[in-house]
């Protein structure tokens, strides 16, 4: 290595003489880091998304490589967040790719002491059975004065503030058609 390239290899020299006076870009590169590429550059696709935590609604860009989320970054285009994410938003990739995520249905039978496996379709049908049975057993046609009630107070639901509007819409529509009034979410809490 010649003296000249040795000096040019020195970050402070590049910072003082080059186009990166703050030393936060090219001046700070080493041979190793120069060879790296950002996951955002090599992604197959990018989806425009929104942080799932609080209601500030920071914009996110979700980068995908080989069908997996490879990176989640703040969206600089967002007039709300201007590219920033707080520790929670910045942990979104860890959230969606967490090894602790449950990806199969789990079932605990009455008086059971362990979880068991259950097929998703079976679970859906068992739940439908229970909903219909609870509805039938607790159905109220009319009140004591004969005024319509059309309802069941036999089961209830809690949740919605972390869900999409479209999801809340279907939940409310189905519950209302079933006569199931008892539906609540974090907005009450």
């Amino acid at each position: 290595m010649g003296v000249r390239s040795w000096i040019e290899g020195w970050p402070v020299y590049r910072q003082l003489t080059g186009t990166d006076p703050l030393g936060r870009g090219t001046a700070a590169e080493s041979a190793g880091s120069r060879a790296l590429t950002a996951r955002t550059d090599t992604a197959d696709s990018m989806a425009r998304s929104v942080c799932p935590y609080c209601a500030v609604g920071c914009g996110q860009r979700v980068y995908v490589k080989d069908g997996q989320v490879s990176q989640i970054e703040g969206d600089p285009d967002s007039p709300i967040s201007r590219g920033r994410l707080c520790p929670k938003g910045a942990a979104s990739k860890s959230l969606v790719t967490s090894p602790l995520r449950q990806t199969t249905v789990r079932y605990r039978r009455p008086y059971g002491t362990e979880w068991e496996d259950l097929d998703l379709d079976t679970a859906l049908n068992m739940i439908a059975d229970r909903v219909l049975a609870a509805r039938d057993e607790t159905w109220e046609d009319v009140d004591a004065e004969g005024r319509p009630l059309n309802r069941t107070l036999g089961f209830s639901s809690l949740g919605g503030a972390t869900l999409d509007n479209e999801e809340n819409y279907l939940i409310k529509k189905l519950f209302t058609a079933m006569g199931a009034l008892q539906i609540e979410n974090q907005a009450r809490i």
């Binding site: 989806a47 998304s49 929104v50 799932p52 609080c54 209601a55 500030v56 609604g57 979700v62 995908v64 969206d75 007039p79 709300i80 201007r82 929670k88 938003g89 942990a91 860890s94 967490s98 602790l100 995520r101 449950q102 990806t103 199969t104 789990r106 605990r108 009455p110 002491t113 998703l120 859906l124 049908n125 439908a128 229970r130 219909l132 609870a134 005024r147 319509p148 059309n150 069941t152 107070l153 089961f155 809690l158 919605g160 503030a161 972390t162 999409d164 509007n165 809340n168 819409y169 279907l170 409310k172 058609a177 079933m178 006569g179 009034l181 609540e184 979410n185 974090q186 009450r188 809490i189």
Partner: protein, 864 residues
């Protein structure tokens, strides 16, 4: 705000850079305090006294923005002489009914008005949280009022306000809140100086204001100040709620709530809403001014969206299919009903009440007494494993082999594995694109509920029972796609938006809705989100390429309007109040309202417009009445109806407080919602005896690094690592007093539970001098539970259940407790400790203080 909504806080910093003064009021010094110009420590639960002090300061010094106040608020409106104020009634208003602890609101009305015939009685309003309907429109009042624009009439709202807040002096603020007078005056002066044609001030709050037995009145007090200072409907003004979940606003607009239908239409009540016509009249109030005159249209469109072709004029659009409320069916009533064995099944959809709701033990015992429970979540949360790992296992209250609850855990899709809209805290809808497929059995709620509905409808296909018609006639044909038959979220959004039934053309605005069944729309306030067949919520024009209002990023309800009531940003003649605060104004040449935002006014109604006598609906709103959803077009300093605990906010002590109310004989909110269930035991407060058994005030809030009940943060390694352990912050003085050591253990005891936490001794908390004595406050994060990467006792276990009467939100920002050094006992000894405290405090289970506080001499209330 810097802690819990950090990225939103950048705008506070921008404002500060431009010269704004930032005040932070909080029981605990936080990152927000560190960056504010001034920090005011406050006793938790005393904010109305502080804000009432500011109101008094404004009125006493005549510092209100008089032109705005006279023209745009109800300050000049005269109130009937039947009205009696808390000043004369020891802290109660006229009309209190001892039998059911509610007010007859009729004596609060405007002069010359009769109480609207369709107004429900106050008890029904409380049971059904009717106050929530007012999120999109004011409570019903007639439009024509008697006014004294000199504000001198002794019964005009301005003078009533002045009398009501006369005792909220700086000395009283100091006595109640523990805020030194100089600090208070610095705040009051800065706030009022920043008012007028050229300047506005903004008020920002979060659940520290709402989770109280007087939560709604907290916000009302803030709104009164903002109206007096002319800070509503103007840029840089407003009362801004920072909400805590990605789409908690959306889940109120399109409610998964028992008492509402989409767009703040009430769920029918069995006695008051027997027919479509009666239901509509109860919303529209025939003869009332404002946009709610069209309630029939919104209602018919919803029914048409629900029941499609089956909904016709002949059958009242299937109105008869709607279930009816008979009272309180809210989440806390449900939990008590679970404990009592009245409820068989429970769905939990991305929510973890075992940790996140007040009185965690009641939540867990309720779940342990179900037939079945369906938990849909990303992670194995406490609410799914209570039968295995709850603290009640150790105490022997839940035994797995004896717990019959059948539990289905169904994995959910994450926010990047499905598409749809979130509505963020400023009513802005943002569409998310789907990035990847959900793993394994994980599915969206859209998938789960669509297919659950499909299976249920198939099961009932041959049914002839009347009760099944609502399910069989339901419009439930959503297109599906992909390997799992995922329903189309865009198709659902289009239905929410509304469409022409014949052509399918998406509606551009709710003004295009018809009440004859020719249009259908699932949530009228969201109409326009699919205008021109374009998903407006998916718009992503970069902020840097737009005006400050950024109207082409997402879509805000209603009508993509970013500031509500923005007609108030112009003076009564329609001109901007000042160049600096120019926002929306009347263009006389073009004969229309124009500006940077979508004007919140009929586009071509001139400022000079005056309604004819007796005009109702929109035509009844004058050209200089900006508050178009209020019956009288005015911003309400005084609420002549609709707020169940009084027309004016009044300081009441929290349900659990170590001090006697220094302002009135009445101790706590007399109309609060009380549950006298044996599990719901409350600590005594003065003037009841033994309150000193629980001498300290505790409050809870969020850490930057965790989210709510921890289901999305204690399970995520970087976040868990940043905040690994449950802790309690105590002042150095309290640490000395109670023998607590930094990083050692302490446990906190209430009449419900004892929990333990690591001790953090810090001057972020400071003892306050309240009513002549020192009050210690402690602070806890409420995120911890027994599952996840990092675990700890749950702060919410400490709370009992007491609710605000207007919206049935629980008081979970303040309570009383004892603090002791060391770890808590385990097993049955834990129950013994709590029982011992109950005994020492003279508590019988389920006991509650009387609604109306008798004074020490036992005098009757009202006899002044």
């Amino acid at each position: 705000m810097a802690e819990a909504h950090p990225v939103g806080f950048q705008w506070v910093m921008e404002a500060k850079r431009r010269g704004a003064k930032v005040f932070h009021i909080d029981p605990r010094f936080t990152r927000t305090s560190a960056l504010a110009d001034s920090y005011l420590p406050i006793r938790a639960g005393s904010d109305i006294a502080l804000l009432g002090g500011v109101i008094r300061y404004i009125l006493d010094n005549e510092l209100d923005f008089r032109e705005y106040v006279v023209a745009y608020t109800n300050a000049a409106t005269i109130v009937t002489e039947e009205y009696a104020d808390t000043e004369d009634m020891h802290g109660l208003f006229s009309g209190f009914n001892d039998d059911n602890a509610t007010y007859d609101q009729s004596s609060w009305r405007y002069e010359g008005h009769t109480q609207a015939a369709t107004t429900q009685d106050s008890e029904t309003q409380r049971e059904t949280a009717a106050g929530l309907e007012n999120e999109s429109h004011g409570a019903p009042v007639g439009g024509e009022t008697e006014r004294d624009e000199t504000l001198q009439h002794p019964r005009c709202v301005y003078q009533i306000l002045k009398r009501h807040y006369a005792r909220y002096t700086p000395e009283m603020v100091e006595r109640v809140c523990g805020i030194p007078q100089e600090k208070f005056l610095e705040l009051a002066q800065a706030w009022t100086e920043n008012s007028g044609r050229d300047r506005t001030g903004m008020l920002v709050y979060s659940v520290g204001w709402t989770q109280h037995s007087v939560g709604v009145q907290y916000i009302r007090t803030g709104a009164i100040i903002q109206l007096l200072l002319g800070n509503v409907g103007r840029p840089g003004g407003g009362v801004m709620a920072l909400r805590g979940h990605a789409s908690i606003q959306g889940s109120t607009d399109i409610p998964t709530l028992f008492n509402l239908l989409p767009g703040y239409l009430p769920m029918p009540h069995h006695a008051n809403h027997p027919t479509l016509a009666k239901w509509v009249d109860s919303i529209a109030h025939p003869g009332q001014k404002g946009f709610w005159g069209n309630a029939r249209t919104y209602g018919v469109n919803l029914l048409k969206a629900y029941w499609g072709a089956a909904a016709t004029a002949d059958n009242d659009y299937c109105y008869g299919y709607l279930p009816r409320m008979t009272g309180d069916h809210g989440t806390y009533q449900q939990v008590l009903d679970m404990i009592d064995g009245k409820i068989k099944g429970y769905f939990l959809l991305g929510q973890n009440p075992a940790v996140g709701s007040a009185h965690g033990r009641a939540q867990r015992l309720g779940m342990a007494n179900l037939d079945w429970l369906v938990v849909r979540d990303l992670f194995m949360i406490e609410s799914a494993t209570f039968w295995q790992n709850a603290p009640e296992i150790e105490t022997g209250e839940i035994m797995p082999a004896e717990c019959r609850t059948e539990v289905f855990f169904l994995p959910a899709a994450s926010h990047v594995e499905k598409e749809g809209t979130f509505t963020q805290t400023q009513r802005l809808l943002q569409w998310r694109e789907k990035a990847v497929e959900p793993p394994g059995d994980a599915r969206s709620e859209l998938w789960f509920f669509y297919h659950l509905g499909r299976v249920i409808r198939e099961r009932l296909a041959t049914s002839t029972r009347p009760r099944d018609r609502a399910l069989l006639d339901l419009a439930w044909d959503y297109p599906t796609h992909g390997p799992h038959a995922e329903p189309s979220a865009e198709a659902v959004l289009l239905e929410i938006n509304g469409y022409d039934v014949t052509s399918g053309r998406p509606l551009a605005s709710f003004t295009e809705m018809k009440d004859d069944g020719s249009t259908a729309g699932g949530c009228w306030i969201y109409t326009g989100v699919y205008a021109d067949g374009v998903n407006q919520a998916a718009r992503r024009k970069p902020g840097a390429e737009q005006s400050l209002v950024a109207p082409e990023w997402g879509w805000a309800w209603p009508a993509n309007r970013r500031i509500l009531y923005n007609r108030a940003s112009a003076d009564p003649d329609g001109n901007p109040w000042s160049e600096r605060k120019r926002y929306v104004w009347w263009d006389a040449e073009k004969g229309e309202w124009t500006g940077y935002d979508v004007p919140d006014f009929e586009k071509t109604k001139p400022p000079s417009y005056r309604p004819e006598h007796g005009a109702s609906g929109v035509a009844g709103i004058a050209g200089d009445d900006p508050f178009i959803l209020q019956g009288d077009g005015k911003g309400w300093l005084y609420a002549p109806t609709g707020v169940l605990d009084g027309p004016l906010p009044t300081h009441y002590e929290p349900v659990e407080s170590p001090v006697r109310n220094p302002l009135y004989r009445q101790q706590a909110n007399p109309t609060r919602k009380v549950y006298t269930h044996p599990i719901n035991t409350l600590n005594p407060s003065p003037p009841e005896p033994y309150s000193q058994v629980f001498p300290f005030v505790f409050t809870v809030s969020r850490l930057t690094e965790h989210h709510t009940a921890g289901g999305m943060s204690r399970t995520v390694s970087p976040l868990a690592e940043l905040q690994p352990e449950m802790f309690v912050e105590v002042s150095p003085e309290l640490a000395v007093g109670r023998g607590l050591t930094h990083l050692g253990w302490a446990h906190l005891v209430t009449a419900r539970a004892a929990i333990e936490a690591r001790v953090l001794v810090t001057d972020r908390l400071t003892p306050l001098r309240v009513d002549g004595r020192i009050i210690h406050q402690v602070w806890l994060p409420y995120h911890f539970g027994f599952e996840g990467l990092v675990t700890g006792d749950s702060a919410n276990d400490l709370f009992g259940i007491s609710l605000d009467p207007n919206v049935l939100i629980q008081e979970s920002k303040v309570g009383t407790c004892d603090v002791r050094p060391g770890r808590r006992p385990t097993g049955p000894a834990l129950l013994d400790l709590v029982a011992d405290y109950q005994r020492r405090a003279g508590i019988t289970p389920g006991q509650h203080a009387p609604a109306v506080t008798e004074d020490n001499e036992g005098k009757e209330h009202g006899a002044s």
